[in-house]
């Protein structure tokens, strides 16, 4: 009863592991599926190996997390193996999150990782120089999408930044360039300073805020996108309970990605699935009837 189809991909349930959380290896993504995820997005992968930002790269807050991982990844050649291993062990769709400084770089990554079931182009990591400058560059985003679409046959999603004046315009640019879905949102650009020493805590100083505190911003972005876009929206940002997942779907999300909440509890997928089922039964609704329901009133 939880099956959804998004941009031609079928998920056993709408809960997908978000990019960058545990997605560094096949084994951790397989374990997410074992714990109930309907699909997974990999860590964002670039052309070359990157170590990422210096540590500390996370700060835990009572209501969320600030991270500045800095897109560490082994490079697409090496990561090909992980996708292969995942697919050998798991039927759930695996979406490769990919990034790069220009369209040809991103295309190269996509081509190398073409075994993935779909692609999520990351143009929205707020603390990486590579992606930060793309986040509100509609033209460049359009170019990247077109290049990737030419290079692969599977669906292409674009992951949007909330750190822009109008997420809807960026979403429209992606749609016009041929994106099959948008993913909203990446983290909020944020920072924290230690008052004892006066030093910014994160090695990169600036990071991205995730977790329950950003959910109201994510819901707003999804709601706004749904008003204008025709392609599906995958919601992400601060989902920690079935209520959050339902709320995002009501706002317009066709599926949900979960990141930070996995930290405390990998079993979160099972828990949310159970809550979702109970809700649908009680309300006598089909899952697809949830999507965008808040716009009807």
């Amino acid at each position: 009863m939880l099956e959804v189809e998004v941009s031609g991909l079928k998920f056993e349930n709408p809960l997908i592991l978000a990019s960058g959380v545990l997605g560094m290896s096949a084994s951790s993504m397989i374990s997410a599926v074992k714990f109930g995820a309907g699909g997974v997005v990999t860590k964002s992968i670039g052309v070359r190996a990157r170590e990422g930002h210096p540590m500390p790269c996370v700060v835990e807050l009572p209501f969320g997390l600030i991270n500045a991982m800095g897109l560490p990844n082994p490079g697409c050649e090496e990561f090909k193996e992980e996708i292969k291993k995942f697919k050998e062990n798991c039927d759930a769709p695996i979406i490769a999150s990919i990034f790069g400084g220009d369209p040809s770089e991103v295309r190269e990554v996509a081509r190398t990782l073409r075994d993935a079931d779909g692609f999520e182009i990351n143009v929205s990591c707020p603390h990486s120089d590579v992606t930060k400058k793309l986040e509100d560059d509609e033209e460049m985003i359009g170019d990247i999408v077109r290049e990737v679409k030419k290079a692969v046959d599977s669906p292409v999603w674009v992951k949007l930044s909330p750190n822009v004046s109008s997420i809807v315009e960026i979403g429209l640019a992606a749609q016009e360039a041929g994106a099959d879905a948008v993913v909203a949102i990446n983290t909020l650009r944020a920072m924290i300073i230690d008052v004892e020493t006066g030093v910014p805590i994160l090695g990169n100083r600036i990071g991205g805020l995730s977790g329950s505190c950003i959910k109201p911003v994510a819901v707003r972005c999804i709601y706004e996108l749904y008003e204008t876009l025709e392609i599906p929206i995958i919601g992400v940002g601060g989902v920690t309970s079935w209520k959050d997942a339902v709320e995002m779907m009501l706002a317009g999300a066709s599926a949900i990605e979960i990141g930070t909440a996995v930290m405390k509890d990998v079993r979160i997928f099972e828990k949310i699935k159970a809550g979702l089922k109970e809700y649908l039964t009680k309300k006598n609704l089909k899952i697809e009837e949830l999507v965008g329901r808040a716009h009807r009133v």
């Binding site: 959380v21 096949a26 860590k43 190996a49 990422g52 996370v58 997390l65 991270n67 560490p72």
Partner: protein
């Protein structure tokens, strides 16, 4: 949890390249042996360190951050978050403690909590033996690779001098190769369930979110579900075969320096 600045109350030199830092952090009293801290030196970096007692860490100088830590003085401040991770399950019976190199640190803390134990401690050379004083209340066997103290050879060679099977619990911490050998021996003797090992991987977040420390093929997070694992949980794992570096690339065992 934010990093919390704590004073270094005392520094104890341990052999050639290691120091114990006793921290003014009374709230750590509830920590379990095997748990670790994320240790932050502002403007320099952050690194994982096992607790070598409920309020100390024992650190080997290996690179940028540990060198800077070694330069610090009593009265200086460092930031810590933790204690994190799953610690050792403490046995009431007879324990065997096996430490290679800096693996002595978490086992030194453990030695405070177990009743009767035998400790097998190994290092490259005499000057690399750390925290020996903590193991003196039990039976203590030493091995050095150059024979400068105790038996010449690896710590795992000491296993031949005792009877592994008679112990109710076996605790081990050290380089991957040592852990693999112990896993194999325990498997042979059918006592994997008695074995608990402390695993090191590249930690970035320390709290289970980044995926940098995950073990193949089970996908467990060393920082969260570990760093202490039962033998049967990790026998089939990558330990002793490969590990991942800071970028997530697999590095075959042997190519990587001990961490």
């Amino acid at each position: 949890m934010l990093p919390r600045m704590v004073e270094i109350k005392e520094i104890i030199e341990e052999g050639r390249d290691a120091k114990t830092f006793i921290l003014d952090a009374p709230w750590l009293k509830g920590a379990t042996p095997g748990q670790f801290l994320m240790v932050w030196i502002p403007e320099i970096g952050e690194r994982p360190m096992s607790l070598s007692s409920s309020t100390s860490i024992t650190v080997k100088r290996v690179g940028r951050v540990t060198s800077r830590l070694h330069d610090m003085k009593e009265g200086d401040f460092i930031g810590i978050r933790g204690p994190y991770g799953r610690g050792f399950e403490i046995s009431d019976g007879k324990s065997l403690l096996i430490a290679g190199g800096m693996g002595s640190a978490p086992l030194a803390f453990l030695s405070e909590r177990v009743n009767k134990f035998t400790a097998l401690i190994g290092a490259r050379t005499k000057d690399d033996l750390v925290l020996l004083r903590k193991f003196s209340k039990g039976e203590l066997l030493i091995a050095t690779e150059d024979g400068s103290e105790g038996r010449k050879g690896f710590v795992t060679d000491l296993i031949d001098e005792i009877e592994m099977k008679v112990y109710d619990a076996i605790y081990a911490c050290g380089p991957d190769g040592m852990l693999r050998e112990i896993l194999d021996r325990a498997k042979e003797l059918n006592i994997l369930h008695k074995l608990q090992i402390s695993v090191e991987r590249y930690f970035k977040c320390g709290i289970g979110v980044c995926g940098s420390c995950v073990l193949d093929p089970s996908g467990v997070r060393v920082c969260k579900e570990g760093p202490i694992f039962r033998g049967e949980e990790v026998f089939d794992s990558e330990i002793g075969r490969y590990r991942r570096d800071a970028s997530g690339r697999r590095v075959k065992y042997g190519n990587s320096k001990r961490i």
